[in-house]
Symmetry: C2
Subunit: 408 residues, 2 copies
């Protein structure tokens, strides 16, 4: 197999090491990725990505979620350019903010109003703040291990975080109503709300869809306590169901937090909520210098309309299933047992008996050299730009991965 070029990436990493602590921050630090994964990227088109050394891959991370229609989707980029030519960050919003809020409230049955922000963390933080404002209570339940952002109150890291930052967070176990009831008992009459991810997508373990009984039970428990059911749809939003990820279970949250896929890579997040919380949402102070940036809103409006037009979730599901079926066939052929989990649009493949991810890393490293960018332990993402030929190209690369693992 040809050596993968990486001299430009290596040189950039050396420069980055001097001016960025650790070379890169957070989830995008390539130090957390299998060997050979590039840190820096030069170009993107559809579901293809080129690193700074010119290596091309079929991409199954979609920028960790934002790219839902494929890079450089013409309708989205044209809408963004049209708005940018008028004005983007002005002394107040442009008309497109209202159009986007109307689009969201029309497409999401649980949504009567919207607020816009920049980060998923801004959205989850605003949900918690509004729940506290609306109830006059303080305690918020969150599932142990769920990711809800990188602010001190919810960060997966405790470095630089104080105990008080989390004083009013009580944990339950995802999918376990008894643990929710116990956490609610601990909150007593001080329960403001319950945060829940659209599905259990903790890193480095099997993904887990909620059962209908869990989703409906959570809704009933919140109703009984007058607490807000806060659906964190930042990661899954607009990939599983265009009416909100829990619409399939017949459950409407009090608020939902959105970001990632909302604008196909333009920076935007949103909170949508039910009528009864409108007053509380109008009383909290939540703002940012770029939260009315019109370009990102024009991109979001075009993204959501295109997702409706092509039925994005169904497209991504079909291609995700094609990928999963192909991976299963290859796994059987090479006699390497794997476990698939999660929705087909956001799949994860784990190797049996691979607690240290030795196989997963070897699979990914070999597949990368053969032209596909997979992730060994975080859910991956499909986009509407993934066609059958792209999936098949990805499977070709995956075969190199299975070949590498088969001898281990």
């Amino acid at each position: 197999m040809a050596e993968r070029l990486n001299s430009a990436d290596t040189a950039l990493r050396a420069r980055a090491a001097r001016v960025i602590p650790g070379g890169m921050w957070g989830h995008l630090n390539a130090a957390n990725l299998p060997e050979g994964y590039p840190q820096f990227f030069r170009r993107a088109e559809g579901c293809r990505l080129w690193d700074v050394d010119g290596n091309q891959v079929v991409d199954f991370m979609c920028s960790w979620g934002p790219i839902v229609l494929g890079h450089h989707h013409p309708a989205v980029d044209a809408a963004a350019r049209r708005q940018a030519a008028l004005g983007s960050t002005m002394n107040g919003p442009a008309e497109v903010m209202v159009e986007l809020a109307e689009q969201l409230t029309a497409m999401l049955p649980a949504a009567d109003w919207c607020l816009f922000e920049k980060n998923g963390t801004d959205a989850t933080t605003a949900c918690v703040t509004i729940a506290r404002a609306g109830t006059g209570r303080r305690k918020v339940l969150a599932a142990r291990g769920s990711y809800h952002g990188a602010a001190p109150w919810c960060s997966p890291s405790l470095v630089g975080v104080t105990a008080e930052d989390r004083a009013h967070i009580i944990h339950y176990d995802y999918g376990d109503l008894a643990s929710v009831a116990a956490a609610m008992a601990e909150a007593g009459d001080d329960l403001a709300g319950v945060l829940v991810a659209a599905f259990r997508h903790d890193m480095a373990r099997e993904l887990e869809m909620p059962t209908r009984a869990f989703a409906q039970g959570l809704r009933a428990l919140c109703d009984a306590r007058g607490a807000a059911l806060i659906l964190d749809d930042v990661r899954a939003g607009f990939r599983l169901h265009l009416g909100g990820s829990w619409e399939a279970y017949g459950v409407r949250p009090d608020f939902s937090a959105w970001s990632k896929a909302i604008a196909n890579g333009y920076a935007l997040s949103a909170v949508t909520g039910a009528e009864k919380w409108r007053d509380a949402a109008s009383r909290v102070f939540t703002t940012g210098s770029f939260w009315a940036e019109a370009t990102s809103m024009a991109a979001a409006l075009a993204t959501l309309r295109e997702l409706q037009r092509v039925d994005g979730p169904a497209l991504m599901q079909a291609m995700g299933e094609r990928l999963r079926t192909g991976l299963s066939m290859l796994a059987a052929r090479y006699d390497v047992p794997v476990r698939h989990s999660g929705p087909a649009q956001m799949p994860l493949m784990l190797f049996e008996g691979d607690a240290d991810f030795r196989r997963g890393n070897a699979f990914c490293a070999a597949a990368l050299r053969a032209g596909a960018y997979f992730h060994p332990k975080h859910n991956m993402f499909l986009s509407c730009a993934h066609g059958a030929a792209d999936i098949d190209r990805g499977l070709e690369a995956a075969e190199a991965g299975f070949r590498a693992v088969s001898g281990m």
Copy 2:
């Protein structure tokens, strides 16, 4: 005087009232502005702004800070377009992130490293987290009334905020070293850092520049306690001094928080810091879905280079002084006593004996009808797009404002 058209704005406000709580959030809510101020904007060019009814104004708010070179600056927009044509939100950063970090560390004497984020609040929050990580201590001092963002730990509003969110924040009075020493004594051996705005720019009161004695005294007090001096340069950054706002006082902070003007309206923020904090900065977990967005970084790089090329602070200072001189002459002519405060690049004009802002509001409302967008109680912003003719056009409009106030 001709009536100002506002039918399109009125219609949009009615639509917004249905889908956005309170019609608009945060600092951009026009309900907090003088009568007749539009909520929605259609177009922007240089220092001119058109609302959705087509009314044109010379703008003295610059989108509350971000617009530092003027809307649609050709070098900035071209750099952003070039990067966007390659890729923006990818699986990792583009080369431009390193170039931007190298630019910032080269131009800022206090900066040895950078982190990038999206909101000013992300930057101030990261500074506090890094200070805690680096010292292993918890207490952070902040000036009473200073704005450092809209997260629960620092928001100017307490709605939905818990006491624990602020458990480790201790207040001092801006400019008063004795109050800093007292707050430090209260923090005892648990002092992580001191947050300080580049100048005192609290809303609805005179702006106040720090004295050299205060800036240097704060540095010495932090040094004596091993605490981080955190300069919040989000609002003033790149308008007062391209080496950092306290470079003029000979004071180098441990970290600085940047946003607003850094990318001429593209969404970006940054933390820069000194070598001794690099390890702590590499250990905290701080991230967001769009924090590596390459388009905003390309815009920032072009913005900073252009600010250096034209000596932006000097340009804005000269035009701000022209504005202030003109306003003073008009105030004398109409016999309306006013008080100017703050740096000329970020000026504020208050009317004497106007605690309820009746004159300030009347002045602004009349000036708006005559074609200039001023603010009665928040510092305003100049940009490098403000030329002498724009200032003079603004002064013409201001004369209408003084005429309105002169009879009050």
